[in-house]
C-alpha cells in the first residue's frame, strides 16, 4: 500500500503518467481510507464504489490509449448540492430525500471531460445554510484534527474528506465563506472564484447573486489545476462571464519570490474579539510574505463591518425565493394535505430543518410589502459601498492579506443555540461574496490546541492568478501544508 490517498493531484498526475500507479490503485487507497476513518469523520453521505472503480478503470484505459487530460484518473468528492445525473442530491435536507438528479451540473460535465472520477457525495449544512455542518439533516461530520470540533461549513464534508485523505480533492460552494472557512478549519486550501467565473448551472441555489462553486484541495497548485477545469462561460448560466480562463496550474513556478508585489493589510479585518493565536499566525504570515519580497501597504475597508447585516438580509431574501421550489409537487418529499396550500405547508414544515425555516422567514420578511425599502433595498445600497471599498483598496495593492475566521474550529454544540453568534463568525468572508471578487484560504499555522489556522488572500475581480501566485509562494516556503491529522 503506497498511501496514494495522501498524495496531491500534481503528485498523482506524475505517478499516473510515469506508470507508477493506476487510477484503480488510487481509488482503492481512497476507499480504504474511507473505510478506516469515515466512521469517525462522517464526511460522506453516499459513495457508489462500483461506479467509482468503473470510472477509474475507464480512466486507466484512456491513459493507455494516449490521453493525458488534466484531471485524468483523479477522484474528486462532490458537495451534495451539485447535480450528478443518476445520483441523489439531498443538500443534506429531508425535503430532497428520494430525489435523483436527471442531469449533470456544468462543473460535473467539466470534471468528466477533464477525466476526473466522481467519487461520492459529501455532507454540508442543509441547503448550505450554516458555518459548522451542524445544520445537516442527514449526517454528522467531525473535524479530522479533533473529532470533538466542527469541520466548519457549509462545505464541511468537502473540507473534512480532503483533510482526512479520504479524497484527493473536492468541490464546495461559497455563498458567505462556505469554502474558505471549512478549508481554514480543516487545514486545507480553498478558493472562492470571482462571481461569474464558474457556472452555477446544476448547483442547488441558496443565494443566487452570491453563490460560487470552487475547489478544496491539499495544496495551492492543486486548487489551481482544479479551478482551471471548473471555469468558463456557460450559456446555461446567464450570470456566467465570457472571459478568458488563464492556465492557472501552469502559471505557478518554483520561484517563491514576491518581489514587486504589493499586498494590502486592512486594519478592519483584525476584529475585536479575534483569537490572539489567529492574529499572531496571520501577522507572522504577513511578515513572511514581506521576507519573500512583497511590499506591505495599509488599506482600508471601512464598510466591511456592515457585511454581516447586509449579507443576512440579501442572502435570506434570495433564499426565500429560491427555496419556494421545494413544495412537494415535482420532486422530493411530499406530505399530503387537503388542498395544494395545505400540502405545501405540511411538506415544507416536515422537510426543512430549523435554520432553513428561520432564514426563509427572515428573507420573506425583508422582502415583504412595507419592509422592502427599509431592509432589502438598504442592504443592496450598503453592498455598493462594500464593493466600492474593495475597488479603492485594489488601486493600492495587488492582493489583500487577512484572517479567514476570528477563531479556529470550535467545539460542536458551542454556537448552535445562538444563530446570531454563529452568523457573526462570517464577518471576514462575507464581504468578498457581496463584492463579487475572488479569495483563497490556505493554512498558516496551528493553535496551541492543535487546530489549523487559515490565511485569506483576497484578489480583485478575475485576479485568481494573483492570489494563487501569492498563496503558492507562501506555501512553498512554509511547512504547514505538510502536516496531516492523526486519525
Amino acid at each position: 500500500m503506497a498511501d496514494l490517498n495522501k498524495c496531491t493531484i500534481s503528485e498523482l498526475s506524475e505517478k499516473l503518467a510515469s506508470g507508477d500507479c493506476t487510477s484503480v490503485d488510487i481509488v482503492n487507497d481512497v476507499l480504504a481510507s474511507i473505510d478506516a476513518n469515515d466512521g469517525n469523520v462522517g464526511a460522506y453521505l453516499t459513495i457508489d464504489r462500483e461506479d467509482a472503480l468503473a470510472q477509474a478503470k475507464a480512466a486507466d484505459e484512456k491513459r493507455v490509449a494516449g490521453s493525458s487530460l488534466p484531471m485524468l484518473g483523479i477522484p474528486v468528492a462532490i458537495k451534495d448540492l451539485l447535480n450528478v445525473k443518476g445520483q441523489p442530491c439531498t443538500c443534506s435536507s429531508k425535503i430532497l430525500e428520494g430525489y435523483v438528479a436527471p442531469y449533470d451540473a456544468t462543473v460535473i460535465s467539466k470534471l468528466r471531460e477533464a477525466g476526473a472520477i466522481l467519487l461520492g457525495r459529501v455532507n454540508m449544512d442543509e441547503f448550505a445554510m450554516g458555518s459548522s455542518t451542524e445544520n445537516a439533516a442527514l449526517g454528522k461530520t467531525s473535524n479530522p484534527w479533533n473529532l470533538d470540533h466542527v469541520p466548519g461549513g457549509s462545505s464541511g464534508g468537502s473540507a473534512a474528506c480532503v483533510a482526512a485523505d479520504e479524497a484527493i480533492a473536492s468541490l464546495g460552494s461559497d455563498t458567505g465563506g462556505s469554502i474558505r472557512q471549512p478549508a481554514a478549519f480543516c487545514g486545507c486550501v480553498g478558493v472562492k472564484p470571482t462571481y461569474g467565473r464558474v457556472s452555477r448551472y446544476g448547483l442547488t441555489a441558496f443565494a443566487s447573486s452570491l453563490d460560487q462553486i470552487g475547489p478544496i484541495t491539499k495544496t495551492v497548485k492543486d486548487s489551481a489545476i482544479l479551478l482551471e477545469t471548473l471555469c468558463g462561460h456557460d450559456a446555461m448560466d446567464s450570470s456566467s462571464i465570457e472571459i478568458e480562463v488563464p492556465a492557472f496550474g501552469k502559471e505557478l513556478s518554483t520561484d517563491t519570490s514576491l518581489a514587486g508585489m504589493k499586498l494590502g493589510l486592512p486594519k478592519e479585518f483584525f476584529v475585536e474579539g479575534m483569537d490572539p493565536e489567529v492574529e499572531k499566525s496571520v501577522r507572522d504570515a504577513v511578515e513572511h510574505c514581506k521576507s519573500l519580497g512583497a511590499e506591505i501597504v495599509d488599506v482600508s475597508l471601512p464598510n466591511a463591518k456592515y457585511a454581516i447585516a447586509v449579507y443576512y438580509i440579501i442572502a435570506t431574501a434570495e433564499a426565500s425565493a429560491n427555496l419556494a421550489r421545494f413544495d412537494g409537487i415535482r420532486y422530493g418529499m411530499r406530505v399530503d394535505g387537503k388542498d395544494p396550500a395545505d400540502l405545501y405547508a405540511k411538506t415544507r414544515s416536515a422537510g426543512f430543518g430549523q435554520e432553513v425555516k428561520r432564514r426563509i422567514i427572515l428573507g420573506t420578511y425583508v422582502l415583504s410589502s412595507g419592509y422592502y425599502d427599509a431592509y432589502y433595498k438598504k442592504a443592496q445600497k450598503v453592498r455598493t459601498l462594500i464593493r466600492n471599498d474593495f475597488t479603492e483598496a485594489f488601486k493600492k495593492c495587488d492582493a489583500i492579506l487577512a484572517p479567514v475566521t476570528p477563531t479556529p474550529a470550535y467545539k460542536k454544540g458551542e454556537k448552535t443555540a445562538d444563530p446570531l453568534k454563529m452568523y457573526l463568525d462570517d464577518i471576514l468572508t462575507t464581504p468578498t461574496n457581496l463584492a463579487g471578487n475572488c479569495a483563497l484560504s490556505l493554512p498558516c499555522g496551528f493553535a496551541s490546541n492543535g487546530m489549523p489556522i487559515g490565511l485569506q488572500i483576497i484578489g480583485d475581480d478575475f485576479q485568481e492568478e494573483t492570489i494563487l501566485k501569492v498563496g503558492h509562494a507562501y506555501e512553498q516556503s512554509t511547512e504547514w501544508h505538510k502536516r496531516h491529522p492523526s486519525l
Partner: protein, 98 residues
C-alpha cells in the same frame, strides 16, 4: 429602520412562506429573529440616499440566446422524481371543488 421595525410577527410571516410552525418554534424564532433584526439596524448609521443599489456584484446585461430548439431533460427521469404521478402527469390534491 427604526420607523418600520415594530417587530416581526413570526407566525404571520411563516404563513406567507408556507411554513407551519409549532408553538415552540414560533417562540424560539421570534426571540432569535428579533435579535437579528435588532443587529441589522446598525445599517441606519449610514446615509445611503445617494447610493445606487447593487443587485449583482458583476452584472451582465441582455443575455439572450438564439431561438433554437435544444435538448431537454429526459422525460422519464423527470417523471420518476414526481412524488405522485399518473400517466406522465404530476398528481396533486383537488384545487377546485365540484
Amino acid at each position: 429602520m427604526s420607523e418600520t421595525h415594530e417587530g416581526m410577527d413570526v407566525g404571520y410571516v411563516a404563513k406567507l412562506a408556507c411554513i407551519d410552525l409549532t408553538d415552540e418554534e414560533t417562540t424560539l424564532f421570534q426571540g432569535q429573529l428579533d435579535q437579528v433584526l435588532h443587529y441589522v439596524e446598525q445599517l441606519n448609521e449610514l446615509d445611503v440616499s445617494n447610493v445606487e443599489p447593487t443587485a449583482h456584484a458583476i452584472p451582465v446585461y441582455n443575455v439572450l440566446r438564439k431561438d433554437e430548439v435544444g435538448t431537454s431533460l429526459n422525460h422519464d427521469d423527470v417523471i420518476a422524481n414526481f412524488p405522485s404521478a399518473t400517466d406522465g402527469h404530476v398528481r396533486v390534491p383537488k384545487i377546485i371543488d365540484q
